[in-house]
Amino acid sequence: MSENFEPKIVGFFCNWCTAAAADLAGTSRIQYPANVRPIRVMCSGSVDASYVIKALLEGADGVLIGGCHPGDCHYVNGNYKARRRVALLKSILTTLDLDPDRVWLRWISASEGLRFAKVIRQMTEELSQKGPNPMGKSPQT
């Protein structure tokens, strides 16, 4: 892939855990690639599949949904519901050969600033390998 390719990642980060982990990474100066553009959501379970699809069709090279670890959800079980929805979305993307590996679900707790940075780094690297998302920006999408 092109050396200059910088993958664009849209992040849906839950207010309680992953957004706080991103805060923690920042205050601790644990740095990560500048490829993620976060949208703060209250719960990973509130991320509608159509938001993820919309992002992919609009040219996102990856979508990262970040939530609390199972059992830790501020809303008791929103993350479990998110997990099932992402499983369905990935199943559909797999069937249609639309590269399910561009959609990541990761549990990142408020104290895991380091893990947050590692996830962003790993995702950026893997998406760089893949190259631009072919779904994005076609006249028909």
């Binding site: 599949a49 159509s50 699809i53 919309k54 069709l57 040219g59 939530g67 670890h69 199972p70 079980n77 993350n79 479990y80 519901k81 997990r83 099932r84 929805r85 992402v86 499983a87 369905l88 979305l89 199943s91 559909i92 797999t94 069937t95 249609l96 050969d97 639309l98 679900l105 990761r106 549990w107 893990r115 590692k118 996830v119 790993q122 072919p134 779904m135 920006k137 076609s138 006249p139 028909q140 999408t141």
Partner: protein, 367 residues
């Protein structure tokens, strides 16, 4: 309880006879059955209030202009009928009805759910071509006439019913096989004179198995080809090339139950500058917008409820194989998520619930 009914009659006559008996014994007060549109060669569900017009019904006509599950929803959703309504459904209609019960769009409180074995259906046009004064039956069509979704449907018999009318395993003039599948059904059958209890169901089981095997084999092959055809975004775009975003597919889908589709809502009333922006990024922005979002979004909405009836495809003005595509994604998704549409009215709603022990590896990759 399972037994032979009206030996000597063909399934159509036997079924009419069965309904006549239900009416006669005051077990039902009305019945929703496939009937001939007056003076026309089309079969639509009709609500009959007496046994007198049963001769207009064609319970086994191999055509399905729409899913009767939706009509059952209209009858029961806002207030239950006062007296018992019997409804005759195909397996796919029954499974759609089960989904709609789960979604509170159908109430079965005053409904006697009768299903019948289904060997498959043809498009309404194909049906009409073969019709004259007499309407064609299943045997008037070849395998190739059948709608592809019917040929891959793995439910020749409905999984949920009070009473099922079986034809697989019965002789052509050998009546029908009535089977009570619930207590309610068994209670009804007590009042019906069966020719004989069917002690040995092996012929029926074998017939059903062979039918299912045939269809599964077809589905495996056909869906594998389809999957190749749509693989990747470019092929998917090609697949939907003729789509005009009319949303007929969702209008006719029995499990698309929303009052107003999200994809028709004000969320999609974008401002002019937004269109300019999109066009600027793409140079060419193909209109109408958000067609792919609609199809992929709908797959996520109903992928776990899709019963593969193919009403979407039948409704498509441009013959896009959308029903087959949905059969493809939903077959795989339902298997992978171990959530099977139309199997039980007590199953939880898949997208509102979860199982703690499922997909435990997701979200966990250690980095």
């Amino acid at each position: 309880m399972i037994g032979i009914y009206a030996k000597g009659l063909n399934p159509r006559e036997a079924t009419r006879e069965f309904f006549a008996e239900l009416f006669g014994a005051n077990l039902i007060s009305s019945a929703l059955l496939p009937a001939r549109k007056a003076g026309l060669n089309q079969i639509f569900p009709a609500l009959l209030s007496s046994k007198d017009s049963l001769d207009q019904t064609f319970p086994f006509a191999p055509v399905m202009p729409l899913s009767t599950a939706v009509q059952l929803s209209k009858i029961t959703r806002f207030a239950n009928p006062t007296n018992t309504v019997a409804v005759l459904l195909r397996p796919c209609e029954s499974r759609a009805a089960v989904e709609l019960v789960k979604l509170r769009q159908i109430s079965l409180d005053n409904v006697l759910l009768i299903t019948r074995d289904c060997p498959g259906t043809v498009e309404p046009e194909t049906f009409e071509e073969k019709a004259s004064d007499t309407l064609p039956g299943f045997s008037d069509f070849t395998e190739d006439d059948l709608r592809p979704v019917c040929r891959m449907c793995s439910y020749p018999e409905a999984p949920v019913a009070d009473i099922n009318i079986g034809t697989f395993g019965a002789d052509a003039e050998g009546g029908i096989i009535l089977e009570a599948k619930t207590e309610k059904g068994a209670e009804i059958l007590k009042h019906i004179k069966l020719e004989a209890e069917l002690e040995d169901t092996s012929a029926r089981d074998a017939a059903l198995k062979s039918e299912t095997d045939k269809r599964t084999a077809y589905a495996d092959k056909h869906l594998a080809e389809l999957q190749k055809e749509v693989a990747g975004i470019d092929n998917l775009i090609k697949f939907f090339a003729k789509c005009v975003n009319c949303h007929n597919c969702r209008s006719m889908c029995p499990v698309c139950y929303c009052n107003e589709c999200f994809f028709d809502s004000a969320t999609f009333h974008f401002e002019g500058p937004r269109y300019e922006e999109w066009a600027a990024r793409r140079v060419v922005l193909q209109m109408p917008r958000d067609e792919m979002l609609f199809h992929l979004g709908r797959m996520n909405h109903i992928g776990l409820s899709c019963v593969g009836c193919g009403m979407c495809e039948q409704a498509c003005p441009h013959d896009i194989k959308v029903g087959q595509l949905f059969a493809l994604i939903s077959t795989i998704a339902q298997k992978e998520l171990d959530i099977h549409a139309g199997m039980s009215v007590t199953d939880p709603l898949p997208l509102a619930t979860f199982r703690e022990e499922e997909f435990t590896e997701m979200g966990e990759e250690k980095v």
